[in-house]
Point group: C2
Chain length 295, copies 2
């Protein structure tokens, strides 16, 4: 297993660099803060750490592209709620979120991780899109990339349904936070070499699933109403991340670095009592996409 | 007990009207949406309801002053986590939150409730202030009103400490969301008449604890930096309400009305990676007040 742990950690760092470069290409004045951090485990022994990259730019209002490799003891109570056995954990992954200024460009989130607990490994991850304007062709493009990426493994349908179910604000009557994508967790076929190759392959499609949409919409104008809708939908994004997101919970429970975890929150957002888009607007149409559908 | 349930419900509705009038006096063009709602209990039988008042104005960016009286069956799993016995619950209360535009005026939250489960009653509630500018005299004023209100019951010190402990973002290294106030829960001395009189009396001090501060600061100018600090602190307010607040959880678990519960969120807010106020600024000084201290 050790070999794949090393390889996976190398892979996510490489991906972090590739995504960073792509963002810098598209937003040449973007400001990047890199923080290399380390943590202690539950019993205050060295427990690994990570590389957090926080971005603020003209195209990308705020973004985080983080990797981490953590290990050591975890809270035994929390350990019992996980997939493996014992209270020693090893985890490596990339987690990223990009919130563009322009409401015509969707927000994106992706995450790929390898976890080992008590000699048992599993993989998890996925990518999901949160658009704010009803450009159906963009949604089809995003899902199309993932459909093609999943084709060799025949896993799109299953992972798409998991994504629909996971990224949902159940307290808001089952409204999805976006239009989904793919999501998987606790993935272990028993063949670590095959599983590693699959996750590595899937994750390598992220760049092509998202950045062409940025390039396509980067120069589009938008109205105050477009912005207002986006800010309110970002409010729902905050609700999801703080109420439902297991990754956020995992981070806080494993003594993660709070600033790196909550980098997922949008730079600005709004909450209004009974907010609803204008009848007949593009935004009202957009609301229809925040529910499971075939692409 | 029935007599006190009726009296308590009447009291909170009267208080709701008094607070509404006070807000309308101070913000004459304020827009008020009143929604009278009803709910079904866990087994889809009639389960009471409430009166939600949502405000948007020039002084008060957004505010909610809500009352509710709910009853009926609750989720048995959730019932077991409460104070009484059985899975029938009755609850009545007022809950309010006021987010002013001007960062020189603090945000305030208050809540007073009576609960009955399986023949056992208890009261809970309190008021806490979230200022954004280091006007220490205002903080002393707020705590002074509650100190005086609590004096006949000799309860200030205990309730003040509970408040400090409760309104804390533990995931942010124990930073309080504001400067506290008073907080109590599961209050039952065995003498319902005395307990009711105390909670009625305490709650009647809310108006005098807060609105004089609004009147004092309402015309003060503020800078962009003042606003930026306020918006970031409101971000922490959102984190508290969605991660830690038991009232929010209680509402969502008892099939509460989501729009009425999440009315507590600020109209606008900001999140920035590793946000910190400018060294030497009033805002940096303000940060020192977000920890327990004697008033």
């Amino acid at each position: 297993m050790q070999e794949f742990k090393v390889k996976f950690s190398e892979h996510v760092k490489k991906l972090q660099n590739q995504i960073t470069e792509k963002m810098q290409d598209l937003d040449i004045e973007i400001e990047l803060i890199e923080d290399v951090w380390s943590r202690e485990d539950f019993n205050n022994n060295p427990g690994g750490g990570g590389i957090t990259r926080a971005f603020q730019g003209n195209t990308f209002e705020n973004a985080g592209v983080n990797t981490s490799q953590i290990f050591g003891d975890i809270d035994p109570k929390f350990a019992a709620s996980l997939n493996g056995e014992g209270s020693q954990l090893w985890a490596s992954g990339i987690s990223l979120i990009i919130h563009p200024h322009n409401p015509k460009i969707p927000t994106v989130h992706a995450n790929f991780r390898m976890i080992e607990q008590g000699g048992k490994y599993w993989f998890g991850g996925g990518a999901d899109l949160t658009p704010y304007y009803p450009y159906e062709e963009d949604f089809r493009y995003f899902h199309g990339v993932w459909k093609a990426a999943c084709a060799p493994y025949n896993c799109y349908q299953e992972m798409k349904v998991e994504c629909d179910q996971y990224f949902t604000n159940y307290h808001r009557g089952g409204e999805m936070r976006g239009i989904g994508g793919i999501f998987f967790d606790h993935f272990n076929s028993g063949d670590i070499e095959k599983d590693f190759a699959m996750v590595k392959d899937l994750s390598s499609h992220f760049i092509n699933s998202y950045f062409p949409l940025v390039e396509k919409r980067i120069k589009e104008s938008f109205t105050e109403e477009d912005k207002d809708f986006q800010l309110h939908r970002r409010g729902r994004y905050v609700e999801f991340n703080l109420i439902h997101d297991r990754g956020t919970l995992f981070g806080l429970k494993t003594k993660g670095r709070v600033d790196s975890i909550l980098i997922s929150l949008p730079g600005t957002c709004k909450f209004t009592y009974k907010y609803a888009p204008k009848p007949g607007s593009a935004h009202e149409k957009m609301m229809e996409y925040y529910k499971p559908q075939e692409w």
